[in-house]
Every structure is written in C-alpha cells, then in structure tokens.
C-alpha cells in the first residue's frame, strides 16, 4: 500500500500494469519513460529474457510533482504476461495501490484477455484485495491493428463494472498518458478517503 512519509513529505504509490503476454505492458512503460523529463523519472529496470519477454517485472519510478506540499511519487510495475509466470505475478501485486489492465484488442487474443483478467481477480483476492474496490482502469491496446475486435464487444466482456477505459496504441503513445492519469487520479482519491 501507499507509503506516506511525513519526514520527507512524500507520498509513494505503487501501480501495476497487468494483462496477457505481449499485450503491450512494457511498451506502455517505455513510452512513459521516453516522454518524461529527466528530472521526473528514475532509471527504468527491465528484468527480461534475451528475447525481451518480461521475466519478473519492469519498474519505472516517476515523480509527478507536489500536491498539498507532498511530493507524489508513483512506482510503475509490469507483470510477466505469460501464463506460466503466475508465481511472479502474485508477488508483484503485493502492496499495490492501483491496477491498469492492458487488453490486447486483437481477435485471436480475446480468450487470453478473459483468462488474464480472471487471473488478476484471483491473484488480487489472494493478496486480500477486491477487484471491485481497488483503483482499476482498463486500456484496450493495439487499436490500430486491422484485426482489432469491436470496442463495444471488448468492453462488454472485460469491463462490466464500467471502470474508466481507454483506447490505446502504446508504441505511438496514443492513450498511454490518459490511462496513467486516470489510475493515478483514482489512487490519489483513494488516499483522500484515508485508504
């Protein structure tokens, strides 16, 4: 959960990007990293295989500026998307403050999206979180591809709760910051409630 440091007047929050393998979680972080001013970001760490598939996690610390005299810092993490890395995914969800679910819009990944979302629900539950209550947003990535599913159909299946949802194309950055902003907003609002 968030870390409120009155000594250094800082709020630290943890946001996790979740989703099926190759849906673009790492690409989201890379875009954010590339577009953020030097002073506002730390080093991006990728624990990946030689073929650049995420093995454990990617990590990107961001400083967003001050809010009521407190520096706000967000730690962005991705999970490894491939089904068999479930043990690692559970670990990364520890202490999460907000979740971005990145869906792969391609038709052939429809089932993989559902499976990964179910997996997120189960793993959150195991950590004592309720997917219905935790700050949560959905990003439909790869909207630019010709084989992308109908948006309404995706939303109906993946977002019955109607959490904030965004269309995105992570390599060009479309929707990337909108998604981050939405989840950060929910996390800070949660903090306001004393969560």
């Amino acid at each position: 959960m968030s870390f409120i440091n009155y000594a250094s007047r800082e709020i630290n929050c943890k946001i996790v990007y979740y989703g099926p393998g190759l849906c673009g979680k790492t690409t989201n972080l890379q875009y954010i990293y590339n577009k953020t001013a030097e002073g506002s970001k730390g080093k991006m760490i990728s624990l990946a295989t030689e073929t650049e598939r995420t093995l454990f996690f990617d990590f990107l610390p961001l400083a967003l500026g001050e809010i009521r005299g407190f520096k706000t810092r967000f730690h962005l993490y991705t999970v490894p998307g491939q089904v068999f890395y479930d043990a690692s995914r559970k670990l990364i969800l520890k202490g999460v403050d907000g979740v971005v679910y990145v869906a792969d819009s391609q038709e052939e990944r429809f089932d993989a999206n559902i499976e990964s979302l179910e997996n997120l629900r189960d793993n959150l539950e195991e950590q004592g979180f309720d997917i219905e209550k935790i700050p949560f947003v959905i990003q439909y990535n790869k909207r630019d591809l010709p084989n992308a599913c109908d948006l309404e159909e995706l939303s109906k299946v993946l977002n019955p709760r109607k959490v904030p949802e965004f269309e995105a194309c992570a390599p060009t950055g479309e929707g990337v910051f909108e998604t981050l902003k939405a989840v950060a907003k929910l996390v800070l609002n949660d903090l306001k409630k004393g969560g």
Binding site: Y6, K43, G65
Partner: protein, 164 residues
C-alpha cells in the same frame, strides 16, 4: 507485526530514530551502505556511501528479491527466509527481514566480514522492530484524525495539475 494491507506512515520523530540507529549500525559493522526498504519496494531510509547508488532501483529490486525468495520458501514449506546474503567480488549484500514487513539491507566490502555484519544486524534488528511497532501504533492512533490530514483536502484540480 506490521499488517501488509495498511499504508506505511513515517513521522519525523521515528525517522530520526531510525536514521540514528542505521548510522550506528553502519559504523559498528564497518559497512559501506545501509538501507531500510519496505517489502513493497519503497525506500524508507538510507545512509553511507549512497551518492553513486540508484537507491530507488535498489529498493525495488531488494523487495523483488525478498518476494521471490519468500515464494521459494513457501514452496518448501518455510514461512520465509529471514536472511539472504549475496557475495560479490568486492561488495556483498546482506538482507534481513525486520518486524515482518521491513527489509534491512547492508552493503559491505573487505573492510568488514559476514560474521560481524550478522552480529551487528541481529542486535540492531531488535531495536528497529521496537521503533517500527511504535510507528504502527502511532499511525493507528492518528488514523482517526486522518480526515484532518492534507490529503482529505485534495481536489480534482490538484490532481489534474500534476499532469500539466
């Protein structure tokens, strides 16, 4: 024991106590750097030769390391491995879990030894656990007053301004 679900809150008084304690540990163990990291990967305090170190990354990877090792422990029927040690050519890292939620990280070289570090860490851990318990109690006591904290006043505009 610190709950894993509650926000970690740090106050100036406890921060000063923690800093004094890890600075003493640094001297007594002849270490290069000492960190205190939350199990979720947040850096709590650091002392020693930290100028050329990426402390944020170190904190995150330390937490990942402890989490992965904890997963291994559970697979073989252990609750957790409370101490980890990584040996390098010059520098070594000693990690230990304090109070169930916080990780004490000691980086040392040939000026010290594993035995000395273990001895000093054990003693400091007990004191640290007491400070952390006080911290949790204080945070709980003040929780009821939380509505009066600066965060209760956060507006949508404040949040929007962060992104402009």
């Amino acid at each position: 024991m610190l709950s894993s679900q509650s926000s970690l809150v740090m106050y100036d008084e406890e921060y000063q106590k923690i800093m004094a304690l890890i600075e003493r540990l640094l001297r007594e163990s002849n270490a290069k750097v000492i960190f205190l990291v939350d199990k979720d990967g947040q850096l709590i305090a650091a002392t020693g030769e930290t100028e050329n170190l990426d402390t944020t990354s170190l904190a995150s990877l330390t937490a990942g390391n402890i989490a992965a090792t904890g997963g291994l422990a559970k697979l073989i029927g252990e609750k957790e491995f409370s101490i980890l040690f990584h040996e390098g050519e010059k520098d070594n890292i000693h990690l230990s879990i304090v109070g169930g939620r916080v990780i004490l990280v000691v980086i040392f070289d040939q000026r010290s030894s594993l035995g000395l570090v273990r001895l000093r860490v054990k003693k400091a851990s007990n004191e640290l656990a007491v400070i952390l318990e006080d911290l949790v109690r204080k945070a709980q006591d003040q929780h009821s007053e939380f509505q009066a904290s600066p965060f209760a006043e956060i507006t949508d505009d404040d949040i929007d301004n962060l992104f402009n």
